[in-house]
């Protein structure tokens, strides 16, 4: 214990070390603060949207139900056409730590019972110049900045002793240098761990993420720090001078966190281009609009294939009937189902390739892990699309009896409209990815500590 205290005093004497630890704590706190702020803004926006939607919804419903006074009921088809329904995707408790795609993706979407595929991809009106540089969240500080501090504290671990002429003395100590090195590495590790994670713990507490939420992020951070401490120990043991060690470590940092990931991104963009979404939208438009030019029975046949329960309802003879209109929209959605599957597959392929890159690149892996934990990645967006789809189906099925059985739509029916469940989803810990990170980090840490033992 006493030796640890002495080592700590030695670190405290170094302006660089103290400055580094304090600066990291400040940056981590700043990132937690901006993350919490951004998430609070998203929640406030969702509240404003809910209020504004409620107002709009009530007004539209009132207009549609005004017909009630004359005929006793409104036209369900017209109600369905005009009435929007709100779906929301509130941030998870951990979203503050890794904002991910949440600043680009719409966190609320209104759907009508028309074709879903023409409504699902509406984008939020973001300011692209604000989105461009990326967020300053905890994930960013951990992945890109923490390694810099590891380098600052570790690059002259050995060479400073060598340059001060104490290295031989250290090696000749009775307990050997190995313990000393391990103690010193451990102490620096602990200091940076605290500096990075204490602000996060406070943030997790404020955000109500719980001990588990914090613990999961802390686990990822612990492994990532182990990766860098292992690498830094290895380089520090091998390099002749402090400057050489610093240069090699910085080159590794730039290579591993900036150059290789951007190369990987460029490669993924080549392997799996993003144009499938546009193709889907074009196909959907053709499918729906050509239906106006084909006999109504053709459209109904397509619709009955997926909705046989309405097969035996009265055929449409006139120029227009709402049930034909909605059957047309649904048949349009069904027609593009293969394109939808392709589109989703292309997005998931990008996600999978990123995860694969992460098996080798710790920096990528940590981002994948954290964004999955925070439920702010592409998978989260697709899951939200699934929930919107399920709700859209629920709404359609609510309206179909009114349309196909020509039931009147009354104010009491409007009260029975399905309501979207707007509770926040929780992220998951990708165990395979975590295992890969653990293996990589612990191997490197072991290698680093072993190499330190051989220092002469």
């Amino acid at each position: 214990m006493k030796t640890y205290f002495l080592e700590l005093r030695q670190i405290a004497h170094s302006r660089l070390a103290v400055g580094a630890v304090v600066l990291l704590a400040l940056l981590s706190a700043l990132s937690v603060w901006t993350g919490l702020h951004a998430v609070n803004q998203q929640r406030a926006t969702l509240e404003r949207i809910a209020a504004s939607h409620a107002h709009d919804h009530a007004a539209i419903l009132a207009t549609q139900l005004r017909a009630v006074s004359k005929t006793g009921s409104a036209e369900a088809g017209a109600v369905g056409y005009y009435l929007p329904h709100l779906t929301v995707n509130p941030p998870s408790p951990l979203a503050f730590a890794a904002i991910g795609g949440r600043d680009l993706q719409p966190s609320a979407l209104r759907v009508r019972i028309l074709g879903l595929q023409s409504q699902l991809y509406e984008s939020e009106s973001i300011n692209p110049e604000l989105a461009m540089p990326g967020r300053f969240d905890f994930a960013f500080v951990l992945v890109y900045l923490t390694p810099l501090f590891v380098i600052a504290l570790m690059h002259d671990l050995v060479s400073s002793e060598r340059e001060a002429g104490r290295l031989r003395l250290l090696a000749s100590l009775p307990k050997g240098a190995a313990d000393t090195w391990r103690r010193r590495v451990g102490l620096r590790y602990g200091l940076l761990w605290l500096a990075a994670l204490l602000p996060l713990a406070v943030g997790a507490f404020i955000a109500g993420a719980g001990v588990t939420g914090f613990g999961q992020i802390a686990l990822v951070a612990t492994l990532y720090l182990a990766f860098w401490f292992g690498l830094a120990a290895w380089v520090a043991a091998r390099a002749r001078t402090s400057a050489g060690s610093a240069a090699i470590l910085l080159a590794s940092l730039v290579g591993l966190t900036m150059i290789l990931p951007t190369l990987a991104d460029a490669g993924i963009a080549r392997l799996s281009p993003v144009s499938k979404g546009v193709e889907l939208a074009l196909a959907q438009r053709q499918a729906v609009h050509s239906a106006w030019d084909v006999p109504k029975m053709e459209t109904f046949e397509k619709f009955f294939r997926t909705h046989p329960e309405w097969k035996d309802t009265a055929p449409v003879t006139g120029r227009f009937h709402w049930k034909w209109y909605y059957a047309m929209h649904q048949a349009g959605d069904d027609a593009v189902a293969p394109s939808v599957a392709q589109y989703r597959a292309s997005m998931m392929a990008r996600e999978d390739w990123t995860a694969r890159a992460g098996l080798l690149l710790a920096s990528v892996n940590v981002q994948v892990l954290l964004h999955r934990l925070a439920d702010t990645d592409l998978a989260s967006q697709l899951a939200y699309h699934d929930r919107i789809g399920a709700y859209h189906t629920q709404l359609r099925q609510f309206f179909y009896p009114y349309l196909f059985e020509e039931r009147p739509f009354t104010p009491s029916d409007a009260a029975k409209l399905p309501v979207y469940d707007g509770s926040a989803m929780k992220g998951t810990l990708a165990t395979g990815q975590l295992l890969a990170l653990a293996v990589l980090a612990l191997l490197l840490l072991a290698a680093g500590l072993r190499t330190l033992r051989t220092v002469r």
Binding site: T63, A108, M132, A251, S275, R285
Partner: protein, 476 residues
């Protein structure tokens, strides 16, 4: 020794020292390779993107022209797609392009967002930065400059060589200028592949030559600011490692921290309504004006009276034109005016946000450079807004053209399911818009950035003059 002999001697000495440092040479070669890869990869990517958008555009143009006989109002709802083409310089700096959709669906009564942005469909990897020449020159090259130059003066001071040189009669200013010249040469070498690419683009596409040359000058100025800052910090701190620490800290703050934190500040300060809120607000304004479906609506009753008077008849049935077409046209005029109003208000808010971010360019040359770089590459907020506004103008024009057909070609007394001949679709003009003028873009974005980078450089030189005079006068 005269200045003319001493200065090159200092520079050559510095180059020799750099060449001896194997790590530095390896890093330099790697950076050159990376710039080359970035140029090739992003140039190819922009080519693919443009080819794809052109293909989509010709597909939808053909689909539009090949529509069967339809009621014009059906065509209003069928709508049209337009795709934003990229400027030839977009390969240099993707700017906001990955964050904005490039696909605009234009239809009647509605204003849709630009959908399917790359970033919204990609994994989180994209958010650190894309491998473009701009990214390499803005973020990575300064870091390398810092590494090559942090010890330029401080290391000689540590070894006592600096005092020796001063005693031998080399003036401080000469010494600093020599070091500056050496590192400026290296920085220009590091930027050379990108600069050559810019010159090549200027030759191949004379239309963007002015932009390309301005970009070249801007990036050269930016790298020079880093060189001067690095040498001066090295000259003013006692030890090389202190200089490295200060410079890396400066890099973190100006190249990483400020560009990422300022957007949060701006978003918090300005506050913009979400798309749904805007939609509801527009809807409310429209409802307040009038409801064309309501037979007792005062606004549309007045409109009917005006129309009847114009044609000198007393009943809608007696009108020589299609009244429901007139109603559509009037409705479109009203909604479009509102769309336009809301769009411009939102654009003003976004510009205000961007201005807050730009205000930090006083502390971060990167923000100044990025503003110029995205503007000249045609990939900034303005160029996206230009696409949206032009798209909206085009939308209004073709919808009103279709409403005109509804008014004049469709039988006034029909049941509403008449179809008109398909040759009308082919007559619709195609979407196209001219790029912004260089003078305008430069006045708005490039000259202010040049002024800022220039001021940085002047300030640094002024400080440098002061440092040079004091060099090794007060022994630390």
């Amino acid at each position: 020794m005269s200045v003319f002999q001493a200065l090159p001697a200092v520079a050559v000495g510095e180059w020799r020292a750099m060449l001896r440092n194997q790590v530095a040479v390896a890093a330099g070669i790697l950076m050159l390779a990376l710039t080359l890869v970035a140029i090739v990869v992003s140039h190819e990517r922009v080519g693919t993107v443009n080819a794809e958008r052109a293909r989509f555009q010709s597909t939808v143009d053909a689909q539009w022209a090949n529509q069967p006989d339809r009621h014009p109002h059906r065509v209003v709802h069928y709508g049209h797609y337009v795709f934003r083409p990229l400027s030839p310089l977009a390969f240099f700096d993707f700017g906001v392009d990955p964050f904005t959709g490039s696909t605009l669906f234009l239809e009647g009564h509605r204003q849709n967002s630009a959908n399917f942005s790359d970033a919204a469909q990609s994994s989180v990897l994209l958010r650190f930065g894309q491998l473009t020449p701009a990214f390499v020159l803005q973020v990575l090259t300064p870091l390398l400059i810092v590494f090559l130059a942090f010890g330029s003066v401080a290391r000689e001071r540590e070894r006592g060589q600096l005092r020796l040189q001063i005693v031998q009669g080399v003036r401080g200013a000469t010494l600093l200028l020599g070091k500056l010249a050496a590192h400026a040469g290296v920085a220009l070498l590091l930027g050379a592949p990108a600069f050559i690419a810019l010159v090549a683009i200027a030759v191949v596409h004379p239309a963007v030559a002015a932009e390309a040359i301005a970009l070249l000058a801007g990036y050269a100025l930016y790298l020079l600011v880093w060189v001067v800052a690095a040498v001066l910090v090295s000259a003013s701190l006692p030890r090389a490692r202190d200089a490295l620490l200060a410079l890396v800290a400066g890099w973190i703050v100006t190249a990483i921290l400020l560009p990422r934190v300022m957007p949060d500040v701006a978003a918090g300060d300005v506050g913009r309504p979400s798309r749904i809120e805007t939609e509801v607000a527009i809807h409310e304004r429209l409802a307040a004006i009038g409801d064309s479906h309501n037979p007792d609506d005062p606004y549309f009753n007045a409109f009917r009276a005006r129309t009847l008077q114009h044609y000198g008849v007393t009943r809608v049935e007696d009108l020589p034109v299609n009244y429901s077409g007139l109603l559509m046209a009037e409705g479109e005029r009203m909604t479009s005016a509102l769309f336009d109003e809301f769009m411009r208000a939102d654009y003003a808010r976004q510009t205000a946000e961007s201005a807050i971010v730009h205000s930090a360019s006083v502390a971060s040359p990167l923000i100044a450079l990025r503003r110029m770089s995205t503007a000249l590459s045609g990939t900034n907020l303005d160029s996206h807004a230009r696409f949206l506004l032009e798209g909206e103008r085009y939308r209004y024009a073709f919808v009103q053209r279709l409403n005109g057909l509804h008014v004049n070609v469709v039988t006034p007394t029909g049941a509403g399911d008449e179809r008109i001949d398909k040759h009308h679709w082919e007559d619709t003009p195609r979407f196209g818009y001219a790029p912004a003028l260089f003078a305008e873009v430069a006045a708005r974005h490039a000259w202010p950035a040049f002024a800022l980078l220039g001021s940085w450089l002047l300030a640094l030189f002024a400080i440098g003059g002061w440092i040079a005079k004091r060099l090794e006068r007060n022994p630390a």
